[in-house]
Subunit: 515 residues, 2 copies
Amino acid sequence: MLTMAMRSGGLRGTAVRWLLSQRLRGGGGGHHRFASTLLTAQQKPYTHIQRGNFNQVEGEDLAVFERILTSSGVITDHADVDRYNQDWMGKFRGQSTVVLRPKSTEEVAAVLRHCHQRRLAVSTQGGNTGLVGGSVPLFDEIILSTELMNDIISLDDVSRILTCQAGCVLEQLNTYLEPHDLMMPLDLGAKGSCHIGGNVATNAGGLRFLRYGSLHGTVLGLEAVLADGTVLNTLSGLRKDNTGYDLKQLFIGSEGTLGVVTGVAIEAVQRPAATNVAFLACNSYEQLQHTFQAAKHHLGEILSAFEFLDEGSMDCTTANLGLSSPLQTPAPFYILIETHGSVQEHDFAKLEGFLETVMSDELVVDGTVAQDAGQASALWGIRERITEALQHDGTVYKYDVSLPLPVLYSLVNEMRSRVASVATRCVGYGHVGDGNLHLNITSSEPNEELFGLIEPFVYEFTAKHRGSISAEHGLGVMKPHHIHYSKPAEAIHLMKQIKALMDPHGILNPYKTIV
Amino acid sequence: MLTMAMRSGGLRGTAVRWLLSQRLRGGGGGHHRFASTLLTAQQKPYTHIQRGNFNQVEGEDLAVFERILTSSGVITDHADVDRYNQDWMGKFRGQSTVVLRPKSTEEVAAVLRHCHQRRLAVSTQGGNTGLVGGSVPLFDEIILSTELMNDIISLDDVSRILTCQAGCVLEQLNTYLEPHDLMMPLDLGAKGSCHIGGNVATNAGGLRFLRYGSLHGTVLGLEAVLADGTVLNTLSGLRKDNTGYDLKQLFIGSEGTLGVVTGVAIEAVQRPAATNVAFLACNSYEQLQHTFQAAKHHLGEILSAFEFLDEGSMDCTTANLGLSSPLQTPAPFYILIETHGSVQEHDFAKLEGFLETVMSDELVVDGTVAQDAGQASALWGIRERITEALQHDGTVYKYDVSLPLPVLYSLVNEMRSRVASVATRCVGYGHVGDGNLHLNITSSEPNEELFGLIEPFVYEFTAKHRGSISAEHGLGVMKPHHIHYSKPAEAIHLMKQIKALMDPHGILNPYKTIV
């Protein structure tokens, strides 16, 4: 028992050490893609959407694009285009016939200028790791991929401002920053594939939002190309700049519907000299909330993540991926706590104080603290690989909501009762520190009855508690018609006016976000 | 010598203790207003602006306003209106004949609905503590004061989200949060007068921006009334919400030109269990920059402020306010460092490590560490009262720029050479951690020759180094015509389009920000 260990000798003692199995050790990697053949899930609830009044790409258009990009930047081979048409979960598939891969902002501008004039619809794609169908076309929209725009432009390591092209992969930016003792202010499971431009366009939240905050705060400058090809360059990357409206904020979270993000200036953060990861078990959601309060109190400025998963999520990773739980006793709730600090001795003392409190108050019934980076990575692996594990069930109905903490898990409980007789699994996990729940319901194949039990209930529950029906995943093609559950009519009206102002022909990522 | 003290016994020793004079001790308060009779400065470079095509307020309009607000909400007595017409520095004076003081969002909406229909211009005023003439009318704009909108709506002390009306005074919000062990994420010299709505509308930065970040990150929800009286309520105050465009961001820093902020949901932060303040002296700007690097390295997650003032700023506070320098040896640069943390012992160890480094590396030539809250407050008082001290010179030409750190102080040096024969004083101080310099040039009275030496040089210098001509003060009426020094034409064009979309008759704070 951890309680005993703590009482008898503190955390450094071997009694709390838990040796991670080799199987788990191997699983701490980044983002895992699936070949589409693995996937049976095809929800396809979007067949009611009609193609917009856009022109189709013709030979003359391709000739223009080849002049702008050279032929290597234009992909028209059906098999090659196909992998850009398909989202990684296999839920969403477009019918595009052409992928454009610009290398520079000027090329993006020239492409959009032509598309705007010709009324050709465009779907911008970064790492294609989204969860709401925002990154693939629905019909024959041109796919504008940022994958060749992966230059790092500059790093000011005094001001800690990194400036790069939109197609840089998040993990590669971290690798670049490492020798400068810096890291990116955001982290997410898809880090091995996702592009920083896509992160910005979708306002990605992720695992350390609690500590390093929103991209609305950490993105210091943006370069974006508007629908008509106008380049809007506010890349200067100053920490403070109150000269007029902060236009870059409009693009953060607009999911490619207001412009194409081509460059990003972002505030890098100090790489922690000390990192600690603890994995704890609670017997109730009430205890979990109290543990969160205690963590904020004891860990203060070093708390960098407070994540949770329920028993069902843990069961899924053990059953579907063969991972082992790091704790011997099953419990209804598990917590992953991480600290980032500059002096290990201080951080450990704070962590010890925290653990003593939560154990003596019997908030936590079992726990382990990673003894090295490998173990820390393995503990993170359990949390990060839940998404992947769920996919193995077949069809996954995924929801991502913000809710007030006291009722956050009530949604999972209520949903589980509703879908008990039909679903394979109904689980909840997510970012307690941000009030952000990932609710996932699985079945072996798409099931209309199940879908009817889930929606609109999930949205109604969220609206009743004044939550957000999309905390961090965005609206994409999956949820634009549900925006009214979280935003008042006046706000939606203004969003539509801004969309019409900035993209009068509606060519940018049509059918998505604001429709 | 601090160096000796550190070597012989550490910071807790009395050798480094410096007893603050009673005179200084009394000076650690908040914001200090001046009666206009004290002020001789009237720059008046704005006489070229023509009154817009708005109607004048007539008896029937007043009758409408009295129906909406009751008579106590409508001020028309000339002497009473006068103090709202006048900015606190005495630089900007409007000619309004009426002040409206709504108590609720509904009242603001009703007022704006009428003004929109009648083409009556409106200038919204919070605490009237701005520095660029944004908070007073230029002509006869109706003054819409938020001073009666000072209700705290709710505090969720688990999620740490405070929701309040726009007219709450920053310091009062801190007082309210104190028993909950929380505080506001921003702090500024004007805290005793400024309204949170004004802070949001001007995107106030302030003294702890370095630690707690921008309002673009910490403001979680806003309620704003658009020009036509439409209420836009996104006050839900969720940490994460990706449902459509983040409209609230548009109002942050728009200086009342896109809507009237009526409610704010903001992320409160943990009140630090431990606060330390050190005041240091450096012999060169080069040393100051190295000291900043060392502070980031050693103080990491607990660094909450890194402020600087130059010798001229110190001289001004001693000469004009009678304060004493906390250090015996004059030096060209002074630094104020603050830490916020949760365990005093840990923080002190980190601070000691930092001070040992900067002293042994001879980056710092003298210094003191506050021994209690009174001393800390007095040290802060020196930094916070520079603005007030400068006013005593007569006329103050104030500039607020962001610049890359290496050239930040070069602007002061170059300016000082230019104005040496004409100005009383040319000083620099500000927020090193944010690359934000406050450049101030004083003279006994307004001086056209001096003004010609300052502008456009100050803007050209800033533009050459890709800085911002307004880091945190905003554009107000003082700088809208200079925005091109910091923003490209494409961005200014889009700002104008958004202004025209959201305020088609241009009634909100005309002549300011985007013109």
